[in-house]
């Protein structure tokens, strides 16, 4: 067992290398520069290629090229850079090309700030790019998950031939804590017979997203949609903490969920039964799992570092028969356990 005291960004980069990353392209942007810096140093050592692209637009398109050849590819950026990649992400989805995209998100809109934020939830989960598609999105909340979910993202990307997104934040990326570097046994990149390899007289391969004839694009769109339905069946990840007897269940992801755990302990010490539901896969969202909590609990407390985005999904899933409260903090200071405890008391009148 390889136990390290590691930075989140390094954990992610190590996971990429352990997953067999062959090609990375990216463009510098705070606060994710540790990832390319790590990979520019380490990737060549394992026979991979690191390219500093001229822009995020170029990065994502270089990925499209390298992915079409059947290799595992990754890029990383932060919010404005991810916006610039939206056309390319849509092309990857349309061309059914796997790729891992990392958003160490910062604070928008515009140039905004470099603090932690969850302002990109909508963009990440509801298609920042044009067209009818969803891509899987994973939100780590610890250095360990930076590793584990990156492995997962590569796996899911290949399995469904889709780009996959890691939605991280600056805290998890720059912080250090303990990490067990363990590439799970049994996970293997699949054969990619669709990819460009050596041709050797085989039939011509064409990789494209243009579908003009008849209703072939309709068929293609439904095919993409089916993948999403499949993912809903197989790739949902979530975490529940003391929900069984909870009077109020906090719903939060990423960094905020981490703080919320402490809040729950604090609250229970004070006789208040809080619980936590944390979606780890934001797409596909653990809808059934969240809804099933309404059997035992009628109070839900959504907390985000934005003005309310995942809230939309929670409202959709839970419906109007339960009591949903929201606390939003579009700020680089992650709220403290006390903050959340006090807010809970205030919003639920206790």
């Amino acid at each position: 067992m390889n136990k390290l005291f590691s930075r989140g960004s390094d954990a992610l980069a190590m996971a990429a290398i352990d997953s067999g990353l062959k090609f990375y392209a990216g463009y510098p942007i705070t606060p994710q520069n540790d990832i390319p810096e790590f990979l520019s140093r380490e990737l060549p050592k394992v026979g991979g290629t690191f390219v500093q692209a001229e822009s995020e637009v170029a990065s994502i398109n270089m990925l499209l090229g390298a992915s079409s050849c059947g290799f595992r590819v990754m890029t990383s950026s932060s919010s404005p850079g991810i916006s610039l990649m939206q056309e390319g992400i849509s092309y990857l989805a349309g061309s059914e090309l796997p790729a891992v995209i990392v958003n160490v998100s910062r604070w928008g809109p515009g140039l905004g700030g470099i603090g932690a934020s969850q302002g990109d939830y909508h963009q990440a989960t509801k298609g920042g790019g044009h067209g009818d598609y969803f891509i899987p999105v994973f939100a780590p909340y610890s250095v360990q998950e930076m590793y584990d979910l990156t492995v997962k993202a590569f796996d899911v990307a290949d399995k469904y031939r889709t780009p996959a997104l890691i939605l991280a934040d600056v805290m998890i990326s720059l912080m250090r804590e303990t990490l067990i570097r363990r590439y799970p046994e049994g996970i293997k990149p699949p054969e990619k017979s669709w990819a460009f390899g050596e041709r050797k007289g085989e039939r011509q391969k064409i990789i494209k997203s243009l579908y003009l004839k008849g209703n072939e694009l309709e068929v293609h769109n439904w095919k993409l949609h089916k993948k999403f339905e499949e993912m809903k069946k197989n790739e949902i990840l979530f975490d529940k903490y003391l929900c069984d007897d909870a009077d109020i269940i906090i719903v939060a992801f990423g960094m905020v969920a981490r703080v919320a755990r402490s809040t729950i302990e604090l609250a229970r010490e004070n006789g208040l039964k809080l619980g936590l539901f944390r979606p780890i896969s934001l797409v596909p969202y653990p809808e059934e799992e969240l809804f099933s909590l309404t059997k035992t609990c009628k109070n839900f407390f959504v907390i985000e570092m934005n003005t309310g985005q995942m809230l939309y999904d929670v409202m959709r899933i839970l419906g109007r028969n339960v009591n949903i409260r929201f606390y939003g903090k579009p700020s680089s200071y992650v709220p403290t356990p006390d903050d959340l405890f006090n807010k809970a008391k205030e919003l639920f009148n206790i």
């Binding site: 005291f5 805290m171 250090r176 960094m255 981490r258 992650v334 403290t336």
Partner: protein
């Protein structure tokens, strides 16, 4: 530290680059890991590259840690005037500013509701290792002891984790400086 109430302590380290701020922070982390605790370390970052500044946050607890950037840490290890200016108002009320008084004169500190501890760390470093370069370790040693952050043994054993291969021979000096701080009696 009672067995009922859980252990939690948060610190900020701040000074100029070159003063070993991040090394001190890291060393504390590795020590706490040896103590079997949960630890987070968060280095500063900013839009501007300033030649000067270096800071980091350390949180140590026996439970899973929430934010690695405490809004109001309890303890600040302050090694430069800009560091003081930046973090003076960040320390929690009733918390501690541990200040290198060889660099910052006491009258610079304005806040009233925090405890101020002044250590002439440069001088002490000079005394024990012959130069002022290990002032950081002196301060760290003091903090470790004063706030019961980590065990002495852990602190000493962890040195090798943060001193790079080619500076190996510096380990005994670091140890000396740490112990000097650890054993410091302030009135």
């Amino acid at each position: 530290m009672s067995s009922k109430k859980s252990f939690y302590i948060d610190l900020v380290f701040s000074g100029f680059g070159g003063q070993g701020i991040l090394i001190a922070g890291n060393l504390l982390c590795y020590s706490a890991l040896l103590d079997g605790r949960e630890v987070t370390f968060f280095p500063s970052y900013g839009v501007e590259m300033r030649g000067g500044a270096a800071n980091c946050y350390v949180v140590i607890s026996d439970r899973q840690i929430g934010s690695p950037i405490p809004s109001h840490p309890e303890i600040g290890m302050i090694m430069s005037l800009p560091a003081l200016k930046r973090f003076e108002n960040v320390i929690r009320s009733g918390g501690y500013l541990v200040i290198n008084s060889d660099i910052i004169s006491p009258e610079e500190v304005e806040r009233e509701d925090v405890n101020k501890i002044f250590i002439n760390a440069n001088s002490i470093s000079k005394d024990v290792v012959g130069n002022d370069r290990l002032a950081n370790m002196v301060m760290l040693g003091y903090i470790a002891k004063r706030f019961s952050v980590v065990k002495k043994d852990s602190l000493i054993s962890a040195i090798k984790e943060v001193v790079s291969e080619k500076h190996k021979k510096m380990i005994p000096l670091n140890e000396k400086a740490i112990l000097a701080g650890y054993n410091l009696k302030l009135t």
